[in-house]
């Protein structure tokens, strides 16, 4: 029985290894395209956050944008939120984070993402997915009727998963690179 188990595990490792190898066989040019696709998704998310945080964005538009933003994430992903007033970092599901963002009690909210870059390059994992970490800086400004009420800068690390998938389009098989964002963790908060 133990022998069978060992054999099955060995087969699984071999199949996983072969699959990983097959996906790793991509040219530097293709890898660069995938790298920049993932960076583009992060920039898109930054814009979505900025749009939803903006008090001028209509409620219906914000809800539509939230739906689009959620499509960028792997299921169950969480967003870390920090404050200069507390050392605690709270984590919310992405939808909850956006709902809280929409409900922030300021007259005006400005959120900008910048210095978006890889801190850990996309590497092929044993499950056949590429995993990397992209860091961003977020400046947040909340303004009330009396002027600026709160401002901080947060550094966040975003886990990125890239996976080869296929789907049927007009009766033909299309293979594509699916970029999904994972947890977004706060690593620094400063004025």
């Amino acid at each position: 029985m133990r022998n069978y188990k060992s054999l099955i595990i060995l087969l699984f490792v071999l199949v996983a290894g072969f699959s990983a190898n097959a996906q790793d066989n991509i040219s530097p040019e293709r890898k660069r395209a995938i790298d920049s696709l993932a960076l583009e998704k992060i920039r898109d998310l930054g814009t979505y956050i900025s749009r939803v945080g903006n008090k001028d964005t209509e409620f219906s538009e914000s809800n539509r944008i939230i739906d689009r933003a959620l499509e960028l994430f792997a299921p169950g992903s969480e967003m870390g939120v920090s404050s200069l007033y507390s050392s605690d970092i709270k984590y919310y599901t992405i939808r909850k984070y956006f709902e809280r963002l929409m409900a922030l009690n300021y007259d005006k909210v400005s959120i900008q993402w910048y210095n978006i870059e890889y801190v850990s390059d996309l590497e092929l994992g044993p499950d056949g997915r590429y995993v990397g970490v992209i860091t961003i800086y977020q400046s947040f400004e909340g303004t009330g009727a009396d002027g600026l009420q709160y401002r901080d800068t947060t550094k966040k690390d975003i886990t990125v998963y890239v996976e080869r998938k296929s789907t049927q389009i007009a009766g033909r098989e299309i293979e594509f690179w699916d970029v999904l964002l994972g947890d977004i963790r706060v690593t620094e908060t400063s004025v």
């Binding site: 040019e29 660069r32 898109d44 689009r68 789907t167 299309i174 594509f176 690179w177």
Partner: protein, 227 residues
């Protein structure tokens, strides 16, 4: 030697002559035997040298054939790392070897087919005037939506654009890279979602690569490519 010995004996003179003739005959026989023996050895060694040269030549050819097969197979297995020009250079080098081997010739044919397919994939698809016109209109709409001054203006432009399509769920593909005959796509989406993306992100980063029309002249599928 005594005087007597100088006296010529006719019998003895005849014997000397015979002995000398025999000696000469023997000498000739030895020379002939030697020349025959050396001649055979020399012939044998030159034949051996020729055989060795031929064997060397055959071994070198076999090695060249094996290497050519490996090199040609590497081109066939290439997943995008080699440019078309590099493949052509390698192919021409191997063809220049004139190996005249059935398997190598078959691989050469297959590599030529692959290079032709790669080159065809690099060519932009031929466009008819209707597609060109629709493509220009669509490109303008993309730009207008991405730079619209208000949400209402963008929404109105989106509705107009959707009118060019058979459905607002018409599939939209984005090519993120095309090299070595391999096409990499982003996650497929729909025209509606893409137009909303232009409105939300205010950036128009893709060009139209291909439009597919239905029988009513409406676009039923669209492929974009990263600019």
């Amino acid at each position: 030697m005594s005087e007597n010995s100088k006296i010529r004996n006719p019998k003895l003179g005849k014997l000397d002559k015979n002995r000398n003739a025999n000696r000469l005959k023997n000498l000739l026989m030895i020379v002939l035997a030697c020349s025959l023996a050396f001649g055979t050895v020399s012939c044998k060694s030159s034949k051996k040298a020729a055989r060795e040269a031929r064997e060397r030549e055959m071994a070198e050819r076999a090695r060249a054939i094996e290497q050519a097969k490996l090199d040609l197979q590497a081109i066939l297995d290439d997943a995008g790392g080699m440019s078309i020009e590099a493949k052509e250079r390698e192919l021409n080098r191997i063809k220049g070897l004139n190996l005249d081997d059935a398997e190598v010739n078959d691989l050469i044919n297959r590599v030529e087919d692959k290079i032709a397919a790669d080159r065809a994939a690099m060519q932009p698809p031929a466009t008819d005037p209707a597609e060109k016109s629709a493509s220009e209109r669509l490109n303008n709409y993309f730009q207008y939506i991405a730079t619209a001054n208000s949400i209402n203006q963008a929404n109105s432009l989106i509705d107009e654009t959707i009118g060019m399509f058979s459905s607002d769920n018409a599939p939209l593909l984005i090519i993120i890279n095309r090299s070595g005959g391999i096409v990499d796509y982003d996650r497929p989406t729909t025209i509606r979602k893409y137009l909303e993306y232009l409105k939300d992100q205010k950036k128009n980063l893709n060009a139209i690569d291909e439009l597919v029309f239905d029988d009513n002249g409406k676009i039923k599928e669209i492929i974009l490519i990263k600019k």
